[in-house]
């Protein structure tokens, strides 16, 4: 139980992607309604996500997913964990 919590928190998340780097989404560590909405926008576990450009200062950041580009704030991107 404790191990799995530790594992989750140490997993790589979206903010750690470098510009142009891609990763495969593992899970959305967000409340149900938020996760549903992000999944509707294309952030579905198992799909590949590429980091795009960002606003000056690096927040929010644009991510390419499923052929479209969606900007997320840092606090949200942190909760999207990669495989």
């Amino acid at each position: 139980m404790q191990l799995s919590v530790k594992k989750t928190s140490s997993a790589k998340n979206l903010t750690e992607l470098k510009p142009g780097e891609a990763g495969v989404l593992d899970k959305l560590d967000l409340p149900e309604a938020d996760a549903q909405r992000l999944m509707e926008m294309g952030f579905v576990p198992g799909h590949s996500i590429t980091r795009g450009l960002s606003a000056p200062g690096g927040d929010p950041r644009v991510f390419r997913v499923d052929g479209s580009e969606v900007a997320l704030r840092r606090e949200t991107a942190r909760r999207l964990l990669l495989k």
């Binding site: 967000l30 409340p31 309604a33 938020d34 549903q36 909405r37 992000l38 999944m39 509707e40 926008m41 294309g42 579905v44 576990p45 198992g46 799909h47 795009g52 450009l53 960002s54 606003a55 000056p56 200062g57 927040d59 929010p60 644009v62 390419r64 499923d66 052929g67 479209s68 580009e69 969606v70 900007a71 997320l72 704030r73 606090e75 949200t76 909760r79």
Partner: protein
């Protein structure tokens, strides 16, 4: 391209014919689709100008309804529903779409058919919405939009196969270019005959499970040979510039300054033009009406009310032209991205930025501009704080009070004067109130349930003239019909308060009007703020528009014709010395007024001001309204004529000449140098044989025997009386009547109070009811009262 395969088959199945005498019930077709799928473009394409905007009862969501003309004179009504990614009713948009499609929305019957519009360049993701829509069992045409983009970026798709897989007709179109739209008309012709909802023909995934739906969509995509298009190359290139760490913010700043400049300064000439047109046409209309009360109702009530509505149009049109270009091109999303971090500090988001900036010009177009904010809570929060921004209508009030009460001293050397500092302080005050209110709202009643913020970056596109035009027509119509009627109504009520009750068939002096009654009634309530009943009247009339308080106070304090308006330095009238307390002293027939090293201004008749320079003496020869005559004995005087009617005669005697003033304008009389100069207007001089008519830019030498009008250089001849305006009279009168605490209180009150019926009307229109404008009015007025109270008492203790 764009073949509607499967149409004939399915349409035949879905629509059993009902015979020749089909019921006349109007058929309704709903357009459903995700945001950025081209829903509105399609709607405009189908309906053109045969559309209107409406709100569903009790919700802020706006929908548009339009008539689509089919062949044989039939037509169907099309409803454009809000853009959604799913039909799970979580947000207001989703709830409205869900309720309309399931027939639960009051005021609109269940649609007879659905047009589901999806972006063909983004099909795998957008197809997810097809599952819940198809499961409704309504006849549905699946429209794949952006066919031109799909093709040019090398994407492909087997349309007949997709129609098979979905069990519904499919049309591949380009709504912007209009290609393939005939398939939609074909579908509408078939579907509108009426069909009972039936179970979908295909197996659909469980709608709530998004990963399953997504897998289903991918599977369908694979089966139908969907090949996603290459990434939009130009969008990537443009983003590399527009989101560049250095160039990005510079472009953003440029755009923001351009928007602000245009609505703040660019709209000014148009607004002045409208104002002038309304006033002059009002005067013209007035001549057609003999009855004074009727004339006043028509001109001061209705006509001025109409003017106060259309005066907003230039700003609304310009702002929406900008927003239309920014939104349709795709830059608005980038601007919102750049502004987001700053706005997030106040609990708002990037898309609130442009509306709030526009609110510095005027809150009315700004509040209409909040519709670009999809998140309803952020939108309401932005609407609620927008009126705190210092709009241009507050400036005349600020300038009047600051001019009267704040000494013209330097605070930081010559860099910052005290008056400028106070004005700056008022701007900051409004801004601080706005951000504190935003934080308060976002942590209480408008607290977001969702913590995640997301912003889709659509590909860049060329905005089309067609779409921009429709948007401008749409916004103007909405403003004029829905907000304009309320504004006009309130303007007439405020007119009635100021011009009634009639005395002997004539409007009363404002001191005896109903507005004055209200002013006296509220006086005990506003006394703690340092205001008297006269300010109370101003507060009533300023509901029409904030700057109205300036003219109202002008009327109350200095409007009696035949009195001294303002005097400074050594001035005597009828042998008695005048001082600041003599304002309002009567200038009676036969009396002389003499200035030594001072100046004075007298209101001769309504709208006619006589100004005397130093070492001047003048006598009132005739004091009637029909005949007003001044004799300039010595020195230098100027007359400003703002209003003159045909029955008024206005003349000045200088030396052996009698000069009659015939038009609005500015006239200069120089007895010391024997000159009469006309800056603007027309004068006729008599006394030198023939009457001499002379106009703007001409002067007459009253000493020369031939007395001919000659040109003179208006610019070279400034004249110290030219810029010496009557506003000083009002300032001095206020100074007598109001304490410093009351004045500061009034400034603070105007910074915070929602003293503007147009804003109230527009908030009601944009939020779909009286709840939010009610809350906003109560909050802002309460805050204004409290802060004015505190300001009045603090200043009173200090000074």
């Amino acid at each position: 391209m764009g073949d509607c395969h499967g149409c004939p088959n399915n349409v035949a199945i879905l629509t059993p014919p009902r015979g020749i005498g089909a019921p006349a019930r109007r058929h309704i077709v709903a357009i459903v689709g995700p945001p950025n799928s081209g829903k509105s473009t399609l709607f405009n394409r189908l309906t053109g100008l045969r559309q209107k905007v409406a709100n569903f009862p009790g919700v802020t969501v706006e929908h548009r309804m339009g008539k689509v003309k089919l062949d044989q004179g039939r037509d169907v009504f099309v409803v454009d529903l809000p853009g959604v990614y799913s039909l799970t009713p979580r947000t207001e948009d989703e709830r409205v779409t869900h309720d309309v499609l399931s027939g639960r929305m009051t005021g609109i019957p269940r649609p007879d058919a659905v047009l589901l519009i999806l972006d063909s360049t983004n099909l795998s993701r957008h197809l997810v919405l097809a599952a819940p829509v198809l499961s409704l069992g309504l006849p549905t045409l699946v429209i794949l939009n952006m066919a031109d983009d799909l093709k040019s970026r090398g994407g492909e798709l087997n349309v007949p196969e997709l129609a098979m897989q979905l069990g519904s007709p499919v049309a591949l179109i380009s709504a912007a270019k209009g290609t393939g739209v005939e398939k939609i008309f074909q579908f509408l012709s078939g579907a509108t005959i009426g069909a009972a909802p039936q179970a979908p023909l295909i197996q659909l995934p469980v709608i709530q499970d998004i990963p399953k739906c997504r897998a289903w969509a991918t599977n369908i995509g694979n089966k139908t040979g969907y090949h996603a298009p290459a990434p939009p190359l130009w969008t990537r290139r443009l983003d590399a510039f527009f989101l560049h760490p250095v160039a990005g913010p510079l472009v953003f700043l440029f755009v923001v300054v351009a928007v602000f400049q245009t609505i703040f300064n660019g709209a000014r000439p148009l607004m002045d033009g409208i104002d002038e047109l309304i006033k002059s046409s009002g005067v013209w209309l007035g001549h057609l009406l003999p009855n004074e009360a009727l004339r006043s109702l028509l001109i001061d009530g209705i006509w001025t009310g109409v003017g106060s509505v259309i005066i907003f149009l230039p700003q609304i049109l310009l702002l929406f032209l900008f927003i239309g270009i920014l939104e349709d091109s795709g830059y608005l999303a980038r601007a919102a991205l750049i502004a987001d971090r700053t706005m997030a500090r106040f609990g708002l988001q990037g898309k609130s930025f442009i509306p709030l900036l526009s609110a510095y010009a005027c809150a009315v177009p700004a509040i209409m501009a909040t519709r670009t904010i999809e998140d309803k809570r952020d939108r309401i929060a932005t609407i609620l704080i927008a009126p705190f921004m210092t709009c241009s209508a507050r400036l005349p009030v600020y300038i009047l009070i600051i001019g009267a009460f704040i000494p013209d001293k330097n605070v930081i050397g010559p860099l910052l004067g005290m008056r400028a500092a106070v004005l700056l302080g008022l701007y900051i005050l409004g801004f601080v109130a706005a951000i504190l209110t935003a934080r308060l709202l976002k942590s209480t009643i408008l607290k977001s349930r969702r913590s995640s913020f997301m912003l889709e970056m659509p590909p860049y596109r060329w905005p089309t003239v067609r779409s921009l035009t429709l948007r401008l027509v749409d916004r103007s119509k909405v403003f004029l019909m829905r907000a304009g009627t309320v504004i006009l109504g309130v303007a007439i009520v405020i007119w009635a308060l100021s011009y009634l009750p009639l005395h002997d068939g004539k409007p009363p002096a404002i001191e005896n009007s109903f507005a004055s009654g209200i002013g006296h009634f509220v006086e005990p309530g506003i006394k703690p703020l340092g205001f008297n009943w006269k300010i109370g009247i101003g507060l009533v009339t300023s509901l029409a528009a904030r700057e109205t308080i300036v003219s109202t106070l002008g009327t109350i304090y200095a409007a009696r014709p035949g009195t001294v308006d303002y005097a400074e330095g050594q001035v005597s009238m009828g042998g008695h010395d005048l001082d600041a307390k003599s304002i309002g002293a009567e200038f009676t027939q036969g009396q002389s007024i003499r200035t030594l090293n001072g100046r004075a201004e007298i209101l001769l008749t309504p709208g006619v001001y006589l100004r005397l320079g130093p070492n001047t003496s003048a006598t009132l020869v005739a004091a009637g309204l029909a005949d007003t005559r001044i004799q300039l004995d010595s020195g230098h005087a100027m007359i400003e004529v703002d209003q003159i009617f045909q029955e008024n005669r206005l003349g000045v005697t200088q030396g052996s000449f009698a000069v009659e003033l015939h038009k609005k304008g500015t006239y200069d009389f120089d007895a010391a140098n024997n000159q009469v100069r006309v800056f603007d207007g027309v004068a006729i001089a008599m006394g030198g044989g023939h009457p001499v008519e002379f106009g703007g830019g001409q002067e007459l030498n009253t000493a020369a025997p031939d007395a001919k009008a000659k040109g003179f250089d208006k610019k070279a001849f400034g004249g110290d009386l030219y810029d010496w305006t009557r506003d000083k009279g009002l300032q001095q009168a206020l100074h007598q009547d109001l304490t410093l605490g009351g004045a500061i209180g009034l400034l603070v009150f105007f910074a915070f109070a929602m003293q503007c019926m147009s804003t109230i009307a527009v908030v009601r229109r944009e939020t779909g009811g009286w709840f939010w404008p009610g809350v906003q009015f109560a909050y802002m007025t309460g805050l204004a009262y409290l802060c004015a109270f505190v300001a009045n008492h603090l200043v009173s203790i200090w000074s």
